[in-house]
């Protein structure tokens, strides 16, 4: 018998945070490029590749820090690749994004298969090295809940991104690069450079996400990212590229995910159907937001008129 407290409890919230962090980090990266005027949907690929790199390095060196750095570096390189393809070489962002997804997943899997198998003939458990420390909370009845330190780190990063975009010069330039690149050129700054920065940031965030993902699921598999990248994209669209809103969207998504998992565990609803809930929820949310926007536009116009009159 399911109790509400099973669904919404401290542990479930922590679990939500845990899974949502993957999306939050990827989402932060995606919104950076979106603010700079590019839509990078190659997040899945970047996450997977970073996870793979993190796994390899952490397995080789036994250090999770190095693994994390490897993930970051991979992400940065991929961000660079994306920026070069899209900005100077004028490729279509969408094509590059999708192809990156296919390419990186395939490449990672290819390399993974080529790694020497472990002693028992099975493939390597790459996640073993990625033991990012976590914080434990003593829960009810001795059921301790632990959450990786990356979780509060990511939340802090959300605040950092918010401050960056709306209070710092470089943040302004990045937004200007996306909203009106000519404005930067007219003052002697380069929008292309800001786009590069945005893409690098995206890569870095995805790198972080990938490393954390490996830690979260403990071992690398082919479908490790599980289309979370696309979910991050959806979150960015809801949150209108605003870090706080995007995080809220990601949390909502995670919450639905958690609730449905709990329901599934309790045998209430079939697993696969509940797995679809978040996606359906996402679409419904988009619908609601869009409809609300239509109504809001009318109101804005009225106040714009008043403001214009006052300004004259």
């Amino acid at each position: 018998m399911i109790q509400f407290s099973d669904l919404v409890s401290f542990s479930s919230l922590m679990s939500t945070l845990g899974t949502a962090t993957i999306v939050i980090l990827a989402g932060l990266g995606c919104l950076m490029t979106e603010q700079a005027g590019m839509m990078n949907i190659g997040l899945d690929g970047m996450i997977t590749a970073s996870a793979f790199a993190a796994g390899v390095v952490s397995w080789l060196t036994g250090s999770w820090i190095l693994g994390l750095l490897a993930g970051l570096l991979t992400g940065l390189l991929l961000g660079l690749f994306y920026a070069v393809m899209v900005v100077p070489l004028k490729s279509d962002e969408f094509v590059i994004g999708v192809t990156l997804n296919l390419f990186l997943v395939a490449l990672s899997t290819f390399l993974y298969r080529n790694l020497p198998p472990a002693a028992d003939g099975l493939h390597l458990d790459m996640g073993s090295g990625m033991a990012i420390p976590s914080i434990s909370f003593g829960g009810n009845a001795g059921a301790a809940v632990s959450v990786s330190i990356l979780v509060p780190v990511s939340l802090a990063l959300v605040a950092v991104c918010q401050a960056f975009l709306y209070s710092t010069r470089h943040g302004f330039w990045l937004r200007a690069a996306g909203e009106k690149p000519e404005s930067l050129r007219s003052v002697g700054r380069s929008p292309d450079r800001m786009k590069l920065v945005a893409s690098l940031l995206c890569g870095a965030f995805c790198g972080l996400s990938g490393a954390y993902l490996l830690n979260y699921v403990h071992s690398f598999t082919e479908g490790i990212s599980g289309s979370r990248g696309y979910v991050a994209v959806a979150c960015v669209i809801f949150g209108r590229s605003n870090p706080l809103l995007v995080t809220c969207a990601a949390l909502f998504f995670g919450l639905v995910d958690t609730v449905s998992t709990r329901l599934q565990v309790a045998g209430v609803v079939d697993s696969t159907l509940t797995a679809a809930f978040p996606y359906v929820g996402t679409i419904l949310m988009m619908l609601v937001l869009a409809i609300r926007n239509e109504y809001r536009k009318a109101g804005q116009a009225k106040s714009a008129l008043e403001r214009q009159e006052a300004v004259k």
Partner: protein, 371 residues
């Protein structure tokens, strides 16, 4: 003028392919495999093994290639149709799955359970299933199309999300309500009569290829020769202009998306009837991405899509042989494909830079070409 453009384009295509194969070779070397053996295995797998014991096996590779090519062709064209009308259909996977599910279910039911249909001729049942699949795909494509037209919600995002929804839904159905008793996640098997005959068995090529050809021709006709296609294209290029000129731009854009969805639904049905004979969770629809990318790099031109599909079909069909004969993981093919796509995607930009560089070095006194 145009020939020169085309010439440059063909050249870049060739270079991309060579580069892709080259990088693939490098990767193979780097991981300790023999690229020559690898590519030979691929070609054998794709075009037939000369030393196979009998004719059938010899041609099975070709059969597979044609089969793969036909799938890519149709998904590529589906992408092109939608794109021509101004919408990106990224949801082909979902539409395919639904089409497959519906077709499999109906196919099985109509022959076994529903008494009044039991006696119907094969072709009729097949047609009904095809239509049902097409409808399923269309309805599923209608949702994102309407959301885009009415509320300007990005169809890219909605279709991607709906893919997952479709996947989960179909899996659920296959495991639950529509589950065939006694079998794993799948629906009931369609009776033998209904299955398409195979050519070049054990290849996957079947009569489905005729349907594919038919659909291709039909779509080509619609897009190139019919007023409807012309109007859709105009809508896709400039919807404001289309509306201004009296075209019902919203309806046309949605129509384009629906055709795309219909095609994908059909593909789902073909997969079931031609190959798997039932809907199962192992139904792979990932080739939709490849078809989509083929369409993109061939700039949505039907002829180019068809040709490139053959080439990619060779790659794909040979992939399995690469793994089985040469021991190279099949993902290498995806890697090679992606590299080709990267180069083609950057082609425009690279050529532009090249032109600018060349013009800088030799400023010519060209007459301003304006009136």
């Amino acid at each position: 003028m145009k020939w020169r453009e085309r010439g440059i384009y063909m050249l870049s295509l060739l270079i991309s392919i060579l580069l892709g194969l080259g990088v693939g070779a490098l990767l193979m070397l780097a991981t300790g495999h023999d690229p020559i053996a690898g590519y030979r295995a691929m070609i054998e797998g794709a075009l037939g093994d000369k030393w196979a014991p009998d004719t059938i096996l010899r041609n099975s590779g070709l059969g597979n290639t044609l089969y793969r090519a036909s799938l890519l062709m149709i998904t590529g064209l589906a992408t092109a149709v939608a794109s021509d009308a101004g919408l990106f259909n990224v949801g082909g996977q979902g539409q395919m799955l639904l089409g497959a599910l519906v077709a499999a279910f109906l196919g099985a039911q109509m022959t076994t359970l529903l008494p009044f249909t039991a006696g119907w001729p094969v072709w009729l049942i097949t047609a009904v299933c095809l239509i049902a699949a097409v409808l399923a795909g269309m309805i599923f494509a209608l949702i994102p199309a309407l959301m885009k037209i009415k509320l300007n919600i990005s169809e890219v995002v909605t279709t991607i999300l709906l893919n997952s929804v479709a996947l989960y839904f179909c899996t659920y159905m296959a495991n639950g309500p529509l589950k065939a008793p006694g079998k794993g996640s799948q629906t009931a098997v369609i009776l033998g009569d209904l299955n398409f005959t195979r050519f070049f068995t054990p290849s996957n090529l079947s009569q489905a290829v005729f349907i594919v050809a038919g659909i291709t021709l039909l779509v080509w006709y619609i897009m190139n020769r019919s007023s409807w296609g012309y109007e859709m294209r105009m809508t896709g290029q400039n919807s404001r202009f289309a509306k201004f000129s009296g075209l019902k731009d919203g309806k046309l854009a949605v129509a384009g998306m629906l055709i795309s969805g219909a095609m994908c639904g059909a593909v789902g049905m073909l997969e079931v009837f031609g190959w798997k004979h039932r809907y199962g969770v192992d139904l792979s629809t990932d080739f939709y991405w490849d078809g989509m990318l083929v369409a993109m790099i061939m700039r949505y031109k039907p002829l180019g899509i068809i040709l490139m599909s053959f080439f990619f079909g060779i790659l794909k069909a040979g992939a399995i042989k690469i793994q089985s004969s040469a021991g190279i993981p099949i993902e290498i093919i995806q890697v090679i494909q992606s590299i080709i796509i990267f180069f083609m995607a950057a082609e425009q930009g690279l050529i532009q830079r090249f032109q600018v560089w060349r013009a800088r070095r030799h400023p010519r006194r060209e007459e301003v070409k304006r009136a």
